[in-house]
């Protein structure tokens, strides 16, 4: 199965700003900003987050999976953007998108990700 590309992810929703893909061992597969979108974080920060932060976030959440069932998604809502992390083909797919007040974009992106599997 071909690996998901940044363009595939950007095509899911116009508000997606950035995408990263990393293995459960923290090996970064891709990290890309949507062309024309201004960065909120330095590039090396994104790299470090994918190497370690995403793995810790996912691993800690999965610690409860034995009792709570599979982790469907993890979202962190910041002032400047919202971050969403899902498991995709045995890797962590992380994306950020423009925030909104009623979480409508979050719902739309989750639906788009589920239908694109």
């Amino acid at each position: 199965m071909p690996e998901i590309s940044p363009e595939d992810v950007f095509a899911l929703h116009p508000k997606i700003r950035w995408v990263g893909l990393t293995t459960h061992q923290g090996k970064v597969v891709l990290a890309k900003m949507r062309p024309g979108v201004e960065r909120a974080t330095p590039e090396n920060h994104d790299q470090k987050f994918l190497e370690l932060g995403a793995v810790i976030l996912g691993g800690v959440a999965e610690g409860d999976a034995a009792f709570a069932g599979r982790v469907k998604w993890i979202a962190v809502d910041y002032e400047k953007y919202t971050e969403l992390m899902v498991e995709r083909d045995g890797k962590y797919l992380v994306l950020t998108f423009e925030p909104d007040k009623n979480l409508q974009t979050l719902r739309e992106i989750i639906t788009a990700l589920e239908t694109s599997k």
């Binding site: 459960h24 190497e51 370690l52 793995v55 810790i56 996912g58 691993g59 610690g63």
Partner: protein
């Protein structure tokens, strides 16, 4: 460079090859990390830390000992292992660069082969060798021979 262990009980200071250290119970730290975040994530955390420290230490020694040969730098790093109390380290470089580098530690302070304990020391060597050989390397096949009290790993080209 200071080629020895400085242990000043009055100032509460340990220096190994010129760098300030603190003696901690690494086995307990590894066990705690494993129980806190699970063995897979604990291994990634320890690997990330040790790999970067290994790179930094190798780069520092390489800069300080500009005329030193590769085996002299490796011996210097192995000496820092002994002084740190992690065990007695031997590194075997293969004739053929495609074959694995073999690292073994006799009387290792940390004997586990999963979770944080798996990456401790050996990820440090992987980072150090990445700098010394100037190529991307991966840690593989971590085993512990209980009878001989030797922990071993292979470091292979990525």
């Amino acid at each position: 460079m200071v080629d020895e262990l400085v242990w000043d009980k009055n100032t509460g200071e340990i220096r190994i090859l010129g760098q300030r250290h603190a003696a901690v119970n690494m086995q307990a730290l590894c066990n705690h990390l494993d129980s806190l975040v699970g063995i897979q994530v604990a291994e990634v955390i320890m690997h990330n830390l040790e790999f970067h420290l290994g790179k930094e230490d190798a780069a520092r020694i390489k800069t300080e000992k500009t005329h030193a040969k590769l085996h002299e730098i490796i011996e210097n790093l192995a000496q820092s292992n002994r002084l740190s109390g992690v065990g007695v380290t031997k590194v075997r470089l293969p004739e053929n660069q495609l074959e694995p580098i073999e690292v073994e530690v006799t009387n290792p302070a940390v004997t586990g082969v999963s979770g944080a304990a798996k990456a401790f020391m050996f990820a440090w060597w992987t980072g150090a060798m990445t700098i010394l050989l100037d190529k991307e390397l991966d840690l593989k096949n971590v085993i512990y021979d209980q009878k001989m009290n030797v922990k071993k790993c292979q470091i292979i080209p990525r």
